[in-house]
């Protein structure tokens, strides 16, 4: 056991040392830590009236949707063999004379440690949330316990499900079908209600907060536990916590008793995790590309020079089953169309709402871009073309995609809402230019922070960027709208300011294609 404690202690120490060697990343983390801690220190803990009066049904719906999202993602990635062990653990620990149970505990500690940051974030934000939303005393503990319990239960359950499904592909199909059925159970009633009432938001809140759903194992139970932040801890919540702990215990015992069978599954899972990690380093989405099968596509390279990079990306996309339309575009287009049909709000206001929501989703979705994967290959740097041309060619497919996405989202929503063509066109331009700003801002973030810390810092870089855009692009646009009442002009102005940012970022980002510093 002391050997396992040693690994955990040394790994932590070496990670901290590694961070100290990267000043830009360290500074960014310190800023991030200050942003998390300072608001809590200065929060007034005895403020009586909350700033926002929270509708409990809305809160319950949000908790339900969030728990469902985490559960589905966790189970699906477990079925793909996600494991919290690395190959180094398999090669060095599993062959060492250490009890399997201890190794399992070690695996858990690692898994939990990777989630501690988020748990602390939740804990530190508690005074703010208490002040703003009027949470009960001890709600911080409820949030932290619920989060860690959810991680423990889904991780253990995921391993049991993987061990069960890996023996027979049919089992995996069945588990996936159950998961999809669960999703249908959550989504279909909302859609039916929304079509009937014409109000998507109210339909979603009504269904997701209904008492029927709280009896659904794990998802419903956790949603109820989270409601403890408003209601306080009652007997029902205590029962749900105990039931979840029993599930975790049962799963643990099941895994512990699997013996060699467990090791085999862990090895297979660790190999996949290793591949996923490798894929993530190359800029591919972890867990999604590992088992991916590719369509056979007969295509010839016809474009020359840097444009061959663009043609390669298009060919890769066609082999993955789509051309220039990823799933995100289809989902966003459908969501915008449903919102346009079922939300009883003025056309222009709804278009602006869709623009805002789509821009926000763009902030958090598709964090890994195709160009990032490409720059991990030496070929890109050796091709005898200028870095600027190579950068444009490597990002062209994504830029085209964002323009197509913009045309689909706002074209369809605009037609349904019958808004002025100028507003549709300016919305398309604003969304597409914002998406392009994000694409090229990722190049700048990658240049500043490197790829190791890219994931976390990039999100914050994008958030800061969005704040910058709100100040320098959205505010002037809003002023123009207030004075002229011309929405199209206002939105177009923000698009022009985005254009300036694009030029700036392409100029800075080109350097990435000049000095790769490949490992």
């Amino acid at each position: 056991m002391s050997a396992l404690v040693y690994i955990i202690r040394k790994s932590f120490k070496n990670n901290v040392k590694g961070l100290i060697k990267k000043p830009a990343a360290l500074i960014a983390y310190i800023i991030l830590a200050c942003l998390l801690v300072l608001p809590s220190l200065f929060a007034k803990s005895h403020q009586q009236t909350p700033a926002v009066v929270v509708d409990l049904d809305i809160a319950k719906s949000i908790f339900m949707a969030y728990t469902l999202f985490l559960f589905v993602i966790s189970v699906l990635s477990s079925l793909n063999g996600a494991s919290f062990f690395r190959m180094a653990d398999v090669n060095l620990l599993f062959t060492a004379p250490i009890k399997a149970g201890y190794i399992l505990i070690y695996g858990f500690v690692k898994q939990l440690a990777s989630n501690v940051m988020l748990m602390l974030f939740i804990g530190l934000q508690y005074p703010n949330w208490k002040r703003t939303f009027g949470l009960t005393d001890g709600a911080g503990w409820v949030l932290m316990i619920a989060y860690m319990l959810l991680i423990i239960v889904t991780s253990l359950l995921g391993m049991v499900l993987y061990a069960y499904s890996s023996k027979n592909p049919k089992r995996e199909h069945w588990i996936k079908r159950i998961i999809y059925a669960l999703l249908i159970l959550f989504i279909v009633p909302i859609v039916i209600k929304a079509v009937a009432t014409g109000n998507l938001w109210a339909s979603a809140v009504e269904w997701l907060s209904s008492d029927y759903l709280k009896y659904i194992p794990i998802v419903g139970w956790f949603s109820e536990i989270l409601m403890g932040v408003f209601k306080g801890i009652n007997t029902e919540i205590l029962i749900y916590i105990i039931v979840n702990l029993l599930i975790a215990l049962a799963a643990f015992i099941r895994i512990y008793r699997m013996d060699t069978e467990f090791y085999e599954n862990v090895i297979a899972g660790a190999e996949l995790s290793e591949l996923a990690l490798e894929a993530a380093k190359k800029g591919q989405a972890a867990h999604t590309n590992i088992k991916r099968s590719y369509r056979k596509v007969d295509a010839k390279f016809t474009l020359e020079g840097s444009l061959a990079i663009f043609q390669k990306q298009v060919l890769e996309r066609r082999k993955k089953g789509f051309w220039l339309l990823p799933t995100r575009t289809i989902i966003l287009t459908l969501a915008a169309a449903i919102a346009a049909v079922s939300t009883p709000v003025n056309g222009i206001e709804l278009m602006l709402g869709i623009l805002g929501v789509a821009a926000y989703l763009m902030l958090i979705l598709d964090m890994v871009a195709v160009w990032e994967r490409d720059i991990s290959y030496h070929y890109i740097y050796l091709i005898p073309e200028t870095p600027f041309k190579k950068m444009l060619a490597s990002t062209l497919a994504e830029v085209i995609n964002i323009f197509i996405e913009a045309i689909l989202i706002f074209g369809i929503a605009g037609m349904i809402l019958k808004v002025n063509l100028a507003i549709v066109l300016s919305s398309i331009l604003a969304y597409a230019t914002l998406g392009t700003v994000f694409i090229y801002s990722d190049l700048v973030a990658r240049r500043m922070f490197g790829k190791i810390h890219g994931g976390i810092l990039r999100i914050f870089f994008r958030i800061f960027l969005l704040i910058f855009i709100i100040i320098f692009a959205v505010t002037p646009a809003a002023i123009v709208v207030v004075f002229t009442d011309n929405y199209a002009l206002g939105i177009s102005i923000s698009a022009v300011i985005n254009g300036v940012l694009i030029l700036l970022f392409t100029w800075i980002g080109t350097g990435l294609f000049r000095s790769p510093e490949l490992p």
């Binding site: 991916r292 590719y294 390279f301 016809t302 020079g305 060919l315 073309e385």
Partner: protein, 233 residues
Amino acid sequence: MLEIKNVTKKYGKVLAVDQMSFNVEEGQIAVLLGPNGAGKSTIIKCIAGLLQHSGEIAVGGHINKSLEAKKILGYVPETANLFDALTVEEHIHFIAKAYRLKEYEEYAKELMERFDLDDKREKLGKELSKGMQQKVSICCGIIIEPKVVLFDEPMVGLDPKAIKELKKLFIELKDRGCAVLISTHIIDTIKEVWDKILIMSKGKIVSTFLRDEVKDENEIEERYFAVTGGAQP
């Protein structure tokens, strides 16, 4: 054809390549020999333009990062890095088009046959074994008919037939007037092909000699141990 003058590369405080200077002539096979961590791969990557460095590197008289240099420089990395979704054939076509090559099909076919890839041309990069991936990587480095070519530990993972074929390829490249630079730590793999040996240790060239300066192949090993302090090759 390949000139390296006072090249230095640091990783943080670690000096990986220290004031290194050497050249490789047209039609010459030079071998960088050295223990693990000597800086062989680092200098190769510097020449390929993949790492920032101080000092000068000229490929065919052009600065290594210029377009003119890139057009005539071939590079086969230590680890084959293939695109998952491209087939063997598509890798070669992609490189050929990116380099704006004309009439390369015959040569591509010849290379694939020589490295037993002709029956795997439809296989995806991710479906190939490590050795097969290395063969594709070699074809991609050579298809551009380079005037200077860098091989970083090229024999790793190759089967005996492919090693034999690769050695023949080294000689053919040399006969075509190409400057070939090979990095390796296994002396036996380059015994029949080398013209010049550069022994590296701790980021520096500690010994350089030509083929006609040694009595027989065994002398390479003696010289190697003499200058590297007995470190295993």
